[in-house]
Symmetry: C2
Subunit: 228 residues, 2 copies
């Protein structure tokens, strides 16, 4: 780039020519940046392609895992009662209800920025009529939002009474800090962007279910925080 003209410029050429040298250099820099931007875009595309390929390959093993888990009695109820971030929200008979949870699936969109869903498949049970409960997370105007299946209780269930729609913000906050329940969490779609339980299920339980199945139940270890 250092032409003989440009090396003479600072002293000999008038400021108009000098400016046009600089303008031309700036134009060339802009062209370089366009090429760099293109490379970045191509790199992102190639990485996305790889991530999608491995997502498909993993799916085969996730399906196999789901099949194996269905042959293990009480697998998911054991996982949920063993998880330190979940066990404390299991209300009264929810632990028994979760013994009817036959299958759990977490589905992420190809682009995780498009959201994910948590699907809970239940056997016939004395608590509700639904076969499957789905909580779906999606972006709406840049904000993470959620919707969940309406649970059709066979008998009135206390666990959702404190987080029904229409409760005041302060009541909801109270329920979040100390009175949260599992199905209360499931039914509550007021604050999807800070849904810690959903994040635990997606990022930890879905990945590490076997670990939590195998760790000893905290209640069996003499940890008597909960009194029924």
């Amino acid at each position: 780039m250092k032409s003989s003209e440009s090396s003479l410029s600072s002293d000999l050429i008038d400021s108009e020519n000098h400016d046009s040298d600089i303008d031309s250099a700036i134009f060339q820099l802009e062209m370089v940046h366009i090429e760099l931007d293109k490379l970045n875009e191509k790199e992102n595309d190639e990485i996305l392609t790889i991530e999608q390929k491995y997502k498909k390959l993993r799916q085969h093993y996730f399906n196999k895992r789901t099949e194996i888990i269905e042959s293990i009695p009480d697998f998911w109820s054991t996982v949920f009662t063993s998880h330190p971030g979940i066990c404390h929200i299991l209300y009264e008979d929810e632990e028994d209800c979760l013994r009817h949870l036959q299958k759990l699936e977490v589905e992420t969109a190809d682009n995780i920025k498009s959201g994910y869903s948590i699907k809970l498949y239940f056997n016939e049970n004395p608590y509700f009529k639904n076969d499957v409960l789905v909580k779906e997370f999606f972006y709406k105007q840049g904000q993470l939002s959620s919707i969940s299946t309406k649970i059709e209780w066979k008998k009135p269930h206390p666990s959702t009474s404190s987080s029904k729609e229409g409760t005041s913000k302060s009541a909801r906050k109270r329920s979040h800090s100390s009175q949260q329940t599992f199905f209360g969490w499931f039914a509550n779609n007021e604050d999807a962007s800070s849904d810690i339980i959903a994040e635990i299920i997606k990022d930890d339980i879905w990945v590490n279910s076997l670990h939590y199945y195998l760790v000893p139940d905290p209640d069996m270890e003499g940890n008597n925080d909960k009194e029924d």
Copy 2:
């Protein structure tokens, strides 16, 4: 996985057989997890390969950019005095000194977790004898550390006097908050993991130098925070 045996098990088979069914299922789950781990590792390897390929492709344009920039008088001094995170540490004649900065390069290791270096190439100048000043960042026992070229001043320079080796911790802290200087920053390797100036150069100036060259100098805009 749901064999006829396993669907009969809960009622008919004794608990020892039941346990061995579960043990076998757990073993199969462990095998599935080994396959999932292998897939994750292969995915990471493929992504790293792509990142390295594009790093090489980008290098061609970075070299071209460096060449063009060398034809623009005062490019880097303009960039540094225009950057809101750098301009306030330019001490007295440092701005003039930086007019002799002909070339700036940021080199990252193939794996960014191995560190990076900032290289400042100077023309012959009245301030110091060095042609090139290098500040290198590397991981040492998991901790980001740095070393930098010893500057051979032609005359004693006030800018490094407040951050020389051997100053007390409190003196160094004072210098960081209000009396930091550009060459004081360069010479200071006491706190590499919180070296904000180095991060600005690596993540912003290196990427967006053209932008900062083109934005108007804050001093030219009637912004008279600094009084010389």
